[in-house]
């Protein structure tokens, strides 16, 4: 460190403040999203637990994690998806309960029906059949990991295998999704709010 003595403490304090502010911003963004975002309930299937860096978690797969051109309606730019591109999925409530995807696009759609919710994701991979009739994209929404206390990942996974599981997702006005909690066999599991 080659810092002028006169500036030493102000600079140290400034750096500590900026780093703390960045962390608080991260917390606040999530807090606001979880609080004010519209709720979407999606059925999930667990994939595999554990993260070497961030402890035990359950990987969640959604029906909308894989989108097929043949089964997704009214979708003008399905073929334009490349890995890394943004994908906006419009979700509409089903009459019998639950949600289904009605449109996929690479920009935020204009004129969204009042009941619909647009969820933003990122294309992981895209596949196209030779004749161009069918294409499949894998999309990640940032709601694929649910962290659980150490040692309970397996138990939760077993529970999930035996029962039906749903994820509660809060969606912000720009389409960003945040995983709020899980519903296992009708029972709501949600982390208490931080503040």
């Amino acid at each position: 460190m080659i810092v002028d003595r006169k500036w030493l403490w102000p600079l140290l304090g400034g750096v500590a403040l900026v780093q703390s502010a960045a962390l608080f911003d991260m917390v606040y963004e999530r807090y606001r999203l979880l609080k004010s975002g519209r709720e979407l309930t999606l059925s999930v299937h667990p994939l595999d637990p554990r993260d070497i860096f961030r402890g035990d978690y359950v990987t969640l797969g959604y029906d909308i994690s894989t989108l097929k051109k043949s089964t997704t309606e009214s979708d003008p730019d399905f073929n334009g998806f490349i890995p890394g591109a943004a994908a906006f999925v419009t979700m509409s409530p089903k009459p019998e309960g639950g949600w289904t995807e009605t449109r996929v696009g690479s920009t935020y759609p204009s004129g969204v029906a009042a009941g619909d919710i647009v969820l933003k994701g990122r294309v992981l991979s895209a596949w196209k059949s030779k004749d161009g009739a069918e294409s499949i994209v894998n999309v990640r929404y940032g709601i694929e990991k649910y962290f659980v206390p150490e040692g309970t990942g397996r138990a939760l996974e077993d529970k999930v295998r035996a029962h039906k599981m749903e994820a509660i997702v809060a969606v912000g006005s720009d389409g960003t999704g945040a995983l709020k909690g899980l519903v296992i066999d009708g029972e709501r599991h949600e982390d208490p709010p931080l503040l």
């Binding site: 403490w9 140290l12 750096v15 500590a16 703390s20 979880l34 940032g142 150490e150 931080l194």
Partner: protein, 364 residues
């Protein structure tokens, strides 16, 4: 200053003193000078840096354990307190003149910053881009390193930029161009600090990036590009060395890294692609010729780094050709025989040149 250099210098000084080229006072003055400059890098500061790294890993594991006995808010506040405490200790050490230990404390704080990001991601089940957290971590670390002018923290920043890019590439399998932005920013900080080890880290990460292009561009078969870039950089560094003597210390390491990159590209072309026998033969001949040129140039410039890389690459190349078999085993044998005859001929030429220049210098 490195101790091997000190050892060499002390031995040479003794010899020069015995030969009478150096006065006793001159020798004493030089020895005192190198003793002074070596004290800058002490065992205490090295241990301080290592301790910071260990603290960082401890904090990350602490987060990973997801220990529910302490409420989440308390865990977050604990990590925040660690960040502030690190900067406080850094200021205290700096005012006491312990600059390098203060660097270790700043490094510690940036490690805690990263652990906090992971903890928040975990608390809110954020799984968006695993690389997003690293983006925030490296920008925060670069900020701290640049504002406080702390070299170890800047070193952490370039490592984080590399990891950030690696995660992006391993997920999307496409070139991660934003790497160049992060790389340029951290490298600019290294230049500003005039910190050579940091510039080596920059050169190393950039070399890895260029080599990765060969596997990511052109459906994974762009190794020609890597070889061309490497050879061009090598020619460029030779041009710099010839025209700008004041940039000698920059051109020499650049040459070494360029040789390594060019060889990585040529190696992939020969052994990871599937060239025909003729193509393989041509590529192998070109590679060996380039490596011999590089070794000769490194010798003439006493560029130890490039020399070492040249020898290593030469050995790896020969072992790989031996394993690959050119056409038949007899063909491989013939290839080695021809190469051996050529290299032996070059050795003879070099010997004659050396003798001629020696006799030219001393016309007794």
């Amino acid at each position: 200053m490195w101790s091997p250099y000190k050892k060499w210098l002390l031995r040479d000084l003794d010899r020069w003193r015995t030969n009478g080229w150096l006065s006793e006072e001159g020798r004493a003055a030089i020895v005192a000078d190198i003793q002074n400059s070596t004290s800058a890098f002490s065992l205490a500061s090295a241990l301080g840096i290592l301790a910071s790294v260990l603290f960082g890993f401890a904090a990350i594991s602490f987060v990973a354990a997801h220990w529910e006995d302490i409420p989440r808010l308390a865990r977050l506040l604990l990590l925040l307190a660690c960040i502030w405490a690190g900067y406080g200790v850094a200021g205290w050490l700096e005012t006491r003149g312990q600059t390098l230990l203060a660097d270790a404390a700043v490094l510690f704080s940036s490690g805690m910053f990263g652990a906090s990001i992971m903890l928040i991601s975990q608390m809110y089940n954020i799984s968006g881009d695993p690389a997003d957290g690293l983006l925030l971590w490296w920008t925060g670390t670069l900020f701290a390193g640049a504002v406080l002018r702390s070299n170890p923290t800047l070193a952490l920043a370039i490592v984080l930029v590399g990891t950030w890019s690696f995660l992006n590439v391993s997920e999307s399998n496409t070139v991660h161009w934003p790497f160049l932005i992060g790389w340029t920013l951290v490298t600019a900080a290294f230049v500003w600090q005039l910190w050579w080890p940091g510039l080596h880290l920059s050169a190393l990460t950039l070399s890895l990036f260029v080599v990765s292009l060969g596997y990511l561009l052109g459906k994974g078969h762009a190794h020609e590009l890597v070889a061309v870039l490497g050879v061009s950089a090598a020619i460029g560094s030779v041009a710099i060395e010839k025209t700008r003597f004041d940039l000698d210390h920059l051109a020499a390491p650049l040459f070494a890294y360029a040789i390594a990159v060019a060889f990585a590209g040529l190696f992939a072309l020969q052994f990871f692609e599937s060239p025909s026998v003729v193509q393989l033969l041509l590529l192998a001949a070109v590679t060996l010729a380039l490596l011999l040129l590089a070794i000769a140039y490194a010798l003439s410039r006493s560029n130890r780094g490039a020399l070492w890389i040249g020898y290593m690459a030469f050995s790896v190349e020969i072992l790989a050709i031996y394993g690959q078999t050119i056409g038949s085993i007899l063909g491989t044998s013939l290839f080695f025989l021809i190469a051996a005859v050529i290299v032996a001929g070059l050795a003879y030429l070099a010997l004659r040149l050396a003798r001629r220049s020696a006799s030219g210098e001393q016309p007794a």
